[in-house]
């Protein structure tokens, strides 16, 4: 079992839809969770960074962590065609190591 599981998609939604992206992880000791957005042929861009359980909101983006279920989510409200990208969840495991999910490809249709 991989330490971080993420459905690679692709996920296609109409403009204005609410998007839900999810990852599960295996180690209950993990505490730092991140979401990155990666456009084609570009470096991953840090979107959200959360510690422990709960919600964190930044504009149209909300990151949610449920440590009891070992489940993390990223919600995008009022999705735009410019949100079309690959979204990677990432977990900092301590020390110097971060584990990335496989990334979910999102397409937002105008």
């Amino acid at each position: 079992q991989k330490e971080v599981e993420q459905d690679p998609g692709p996920l296609s939604v109409p403009e204005g839809a609410i998007v839900s992206l999810n990852c599960t992880y295996s180690n209950s000791a993990f505490q730092y969770f991140m979401w990155y957005r990666q456009y084609s042929r570009k470096g991953p861009e840090l979107l959200m960074y959360t510690y422990s359980s709960g919600n964190k909101e930044d504009g149209r983006f909300t990151a949610q962590v449920d440590k009891s279920s070992k489940y993390i989510s990223l919600f995008i409200r009022d999705s735009q065609p410019s949100d079309s990208a690959t979204y990677l969840c990432a977990i900092f495991t301590g020390g110097f190591k971060t584990i990335f999910g496989a990334g979910t490809r999102l397409f937002v249709k105008a």
Binding site: M34, G43, E45, K97, G103
Partner: protein, 112 residues
């Protein structure tokens, strides 16, 4: 705001040649990470440095080596290049040795 700088942005080499990739972290970031990303794959961790010392090692081939210099920039040296080394190579930096990593634009290496 300053970002991570990588050079070159594109590199074309032939099999068995050597390549050197450079990374300049965000100022005051003391940790540097190197990743390899193949087409349609997530970034695979290669190696990291904290305060100029190797801090962690991932799936880095023995043909590759890296170091971090006194000015905190890092270089990834790749020898005896193989076709399978063709990928995007990202450098990331973080403050205080953990957590949020900020990625550079990547170097696209093509081995012919």
């Amino acid at each position: 705001a300053a970002g991570v700088i990588q050079s070159p942005r594109h590199l074309i080499k032939e099999k068995r040649e050597t390549a050197t990739l450079k990374c300049y972290p965000i100022p005051r970031h003391d940790t540097v990470y190197w990743y390899q990303q193949g087409p349609g794959q997530d970034p695979q961790f290669l190696i990291s440095f904290y305060e100029k010392m190797q801090s962690d090692k991932g799936s880095i081939p023995d043909r590759f080596s890296a170091q971090q210099f006194s000015d905190y920039h890092s270089e990834l040296n790749m020898s005896s290049l193989e076709l399978g080394d063709s990928a995007l190579y990202f450098c990331a930096s973080s403050p205080l040795a953990g957590g949020r990593q900020f990625f550079g634009p990547g170097t696209r290496l093509t081995v012919l």
